[in-house]
């Protein structure tokens, strides 16, 4: 900066001297002309060293032109064109010069700028730029020459006439530079660099043109021009960042810097509405279409929320752009699943923990009563800190996500299912993580809504205690089993159980799978022990859930498997009995559908342990063979299983009603016979979660009558004794 301003300063001094000379003389054109001539002469002397003749001639031409036109108001269009060309040339020259310098400058600035505090209320005056010495030396002469040329323009009041042209050229140049260097660069502060460049390159240039120190009457124009150019820089930034906004959101958090740049440029330009419509457009075009995966949309939505929070912490901006996404996500069936998975995912822990300590308010909820959309104005981006309504209500991502739906029930139901799956998948009784998640969710949804989940977690933790108890208490001598060998006596029970409270878990698919005989014996011992611990309870085994670890000993190899599903283990177990099985035979034996059996067999075939010898007849491979892995079978079997799953899910509606059975039976026991309306009403009063229709209740009560638990006389239900 200093060197640049040196040049200007010398000009200034000259200017001042001359000003002194003519202080007492009233300003008029002729005197100015005189002064200019002097300037020109001085300039020419200087130039002789460096300038080639061509330029001299050109200069003289322009001088002639200018004096011509100053004398006669009528202007020839040719002259004008010539002039523009000349001006363009000069500008281009300076452009290339500037360009080359910018990159080197940037390098120098980079360290300095990044270490600087680059906050949103950036004061660009803080960023003084140290210009490169060589660059300054190189351009010094050029600038000098340019100053002389431009002084001619000023002398004839041309500047006012050509102002538009000059600014256009400058604008074009600014745009070119900004686009060239900053398009697609999101991970560093760019705006501040452009402003620094503006300060060190463009301001001196403008000073040369306007000579504000020389001609005080130009001062005003200089300032307003400066302001316009500065605005143009912000506007250019706004334009490119707005057009790139979708990519910026995709790349968040790496693109944080560009968001800050954008925020500053919005503040300076006030073009918030353009931003909203452009962002809405690109979201619609690029995100909300058939090809996008729901999980991607949800992830993008989260990024969008975070990005909009940077741009506008009040959440009002987000409200303007999130509507189409919310509407679209509502149509997708798997949205809630995605959301629940994202929330419960360990990688996103910070999401759950990000609950603000106070004012957990989704931005929809603080619903903008005070801010009618029609009156919504851009200055909301600079929210008055005294405005208590908006202050402090930071946007909470999870609540915002869940606001896609009108009620939280959907989420809670889905979470319950996820939790059930995760608890069942646990290899131990380690609950720390699930407990933490549940506690965090409780903060949001209240304990009542998550009561079922709590029961599920409690089940697992008491299972640990009970299981430990049973394992230490079990003495095989007492439960003497005839078939047991001596060596089994000191053995522990070969499994651990998770004891689930009936009706508090999501309904399981009905399945007839049974334990193999040996395991069933252990299970019986377990049940017996359990009943002594809890006299009023009974165990009902669910053999198809859980995991099995097996060591498979074949003639030539021994393989160990963890994480087998029970069906896989049981299928292999049956191959102990005989070497080969026909598919239907085995499926009859196991009382499960052939599709399920086949699925299990394909698993063993892929492990090289079984082989299909003829169609639907499978044999165990005691000796290793090269086996073709039959992916096709795999796929078709999976399809078949999907169908089965779909069919079985239909019967789950009444199953869910069973959870209310304890309530209904207690109610009728204590209050005497009741009509269905009364039962319905009481359930609504006593159970905040009760959401069933009276028709569902009716069909459930009919089922209970069918199961001999209820009687119905004259519309009054009583307990069957």
């Amino acid at each position: 900066m200093s060197k640049d301003s040196l040049i200007i300063d010398t000009e200034k001094e000259k200017g001042r001297d001359k000003d002194k000379d003519k202080d007492d003389i009233s300003m008029n054109e002729s005197i100015e002309d005189q002064n200019m001539d002097e300037d020109e002469n001085e300039g020419n002397e200087d130039n002789k060293k460096n300038e080639d003749e061509n330029e001299d001639i050109e200069m003289k031409d322009s001088n002639e032109n200018s004096s011509d036109s100053s004398n006669s108001e009528s202007e020839s269009s040719d002259d004008n064109d010539d002039y523009i060309k000349e001006k363009d040339n000069e500008d281009n020259n300076s452009n290339s010069d500037d360009d080359s310098s910018i990159s080197s400058e940037k390098e120098n600035e980079k360290d300095k700028l990044i270490s600087d505090d680059y906050d949103s209320d950036m004061d660009e005056d803080k960023y003084e730029t140290i210009a490169d010495d060589d660059y300054v030396m190189g351009t010094k002469e050029f600038l000098k020459q340019f100053a002389i040329n431009s002084s001619n323009i000023i002398s004839d009041h041309f500047l006012y006439r050509y102002e538009a042209i000059i600014s256009n050229v400058i604008y074009r140049h600014i745009k070119h530079v900004i686009l060239k260097h900053n398009r697609g660069v999101f991970n560093q502060p760019c705006l501040v660099k452009s402003l620094a460049w503006y300060k060190c390159a463009l301001i001196p240039f403008q000073k040369i043109i306007w000579q504000p120190n020389l001609y005080p009457e130009n001062e005003k124009s200089f300032i307003s021009w400066n302001a316009r150019i500065r605005y143009y820089i912000y506007k250019t930034y706004f334009d490119i960042r707005t057009s790139e906004l979708f990519d910026i959101i995709v790349e968040y958090p790496d693109s944080k810097w560009s968001l800050i740049d954008l925020k500053i440029s919005i503040k300076k330009t006030g073009l918030i509405k353009e931003l909203i419509s452009s962002l809405n457009e690109s979201i619609k075009k690029r995100l909300l279409h058939q090809g996008a995966k729901t999980s991607d949309i949800v992830h993008q939505y989260i990024s969008l929320i975070k990005c909009m929070q940077i741009l506008d912490s009040s959440g009002l901006l987000l409200e303007q752009v999130s509507d189409p996404i919310k509407k679209y996500l509502r149509y997708r069936e798997d949205t809630i699943k995605c959301i629940v998975q994202i929330i419960a995912d360990d990688n996103n822990e910070n999401l759950l923990e990000s609950i603000p300590k106070q004012d957990i308010i989704a931005f929809d909820e603080m619903n903008l009563n005070n801010y009618n959309n029609d009156n919504w104005m851009p200055e909301l981006l600079e929210i008055d800190p005294a405005n208590e309504v908006v202050k402090k209500k930071s946007v909470d991502i999870i609540s915002t996500l869940l606001n896609i739906y009108d009620s939280k029930d959907v989420f809670i139901k889905e979470f319950q299912e996820l939790l059930a799956n995760r608890l069942l998948a646990l290899k131990s009784y380690e609950l720390k993580r699930e407990l933490r998640n549940l506690e965090l969710l409780k903060l949001r949804f209240g304990e009542n809504n998550l009561q079922l989940c709590e029961v599920m977690i409690k089940d697992i933790s008491s299972s640990r205690r009970i299981d430990y108890n049973i394992h230490t208490e079990t003495n095989f001598d007492d439960n003497s089993n005839n078939n047991k060998n001596e060596k089994d006596n000191n053995k522990e029970l070969p499994f651990h159980a998770k004891i689930l409270s009936h009706l508090f878990w999501p309904p399981f698919k009905p399945n007839n799978l049974k334990f193999p005989k040996e395991i069933q014996e252990y299970a019986d011992i377990y049940s017996k022990q359990y009943t002594t611990l809890k006299p009023s309870r009974k165990l009902q085994w669910l053999p198809y859930l859980g995991y099995v670890s097996l060591t498979v000993e074949l003639e030539d190899r021994t393989l160990t498997f963890n994480d087998l599903t029970p069906i896989q283990a049981i299928i292999l177990y049956h191959f102990q009995e005989k070497d080969q099985w026909e598919l239907n035979e085995l499926s009859n034996k196991l009382e499960v559908t052939p599709a399920v059996v086949k699925h299990g067999i394909v698993f063993w075939m892929n492990k090289g342990i079984m082989k299909e010898i003829t169609k639907d007849v499978y044999k165990i491979l005691e000796k290793e063979e090269d086996v073709m892995i039959e992916d096709e079978i795999h796929n078709t079997v999976e399809d078949a299983e999907d169908n089965i799953e779909e069919q079985s899910s239909k019967g789950q509606d009444t199953d869910q009603m069973r959870i209310y059975w304890t309530f209904i039976s207690n109610m009728i026991t204590n209050l005497g016979g009741m009509t269905i309306e009364r039962i319905h009403q009481m359930l609504q009063v006593c159970l905040p979660n009760y959401k069933s229709q009276i028709e569902q209740l009716r069909s459930f009560l009919e089922l209970m009558i069918h199961e001999n638990k209820l009687d119905l006389n004259d519309d009054v239900y009583t307990i069957k004794k």
């Binding site: 009561q451 029961v455 409270s501 207690n666 109610m667 204590n670 009063v685 006593c686 159970l687």
Partner: protein, 153 residues
């Protein structure tokens, strides 16, 4: 009624109901009587090995607005021949009077009452006739059954 208190007690009673239902203790049960959760009906069955075995007694439980800081009012609605229960069904049980604490709940009350049936406190009888007769189980049982079945003292 103070609304916040009303809400708190409703919430607390809803939770207690949920707990009670989940616990599934054999022989005792209770349920709110109407939309108003402050009034419940309870049922306890005489424990095996006591003179009350095989009989079931209905109770009325009235919760004050500042429950659980104040004990609920509990009465037998089925006439009960017992040293600590008077002819109106009022009960003399320390935890329902001066020993009440907010940690007690419907479940503990019902279990206490169930055990009170088998183990009366004969030092502070409400029904002195019953207290005197307690030592003659045969006679006592006859009286219990008679009063239970006729519903009259």
């Amino acid at each position: 009624m103070n609304t916040t208190e009303g809400l708190n007690v409703t919430k607390r009673l809803q939770n207690e109901l949920m707990q009670l239902m989940m616990a599934g203790i054999p022989g005792v049960s209770a349920f709110p009587e109407s939309d108003n959760l402050l009034s419940w009906v309870g049922t306890i069955e005489g424990a095996p090995g006591t003179v009350y075995h095989g009989l079931s007694y209905k109770l009325s439980l009235k919760f004050p607005v500042n429950y659980p800081y104040t004990a609920p009012t509990i009465k037998f609605t089925t006439p009960c021949f017992h040293p600590n229960v008077d002819t109106e069904g009022n009960i003399c049980l320390d935890i329902l009077k001066d020993k009440w604490s907010a940690v007690y709940n419907v479940q503990t009350i019902l279990l206490s009452l169930q055990s009170l049936l088998g183990e009366p406190n004969n030092d502070s009888p409400l029904n002195t006739y019953a207290a005197q007769m307690w030592n003659k189980p045969e006679e006592f049982k006859k009286q219990v059954i008679k009063i239970h079945n006729t519903g009259q003292f």
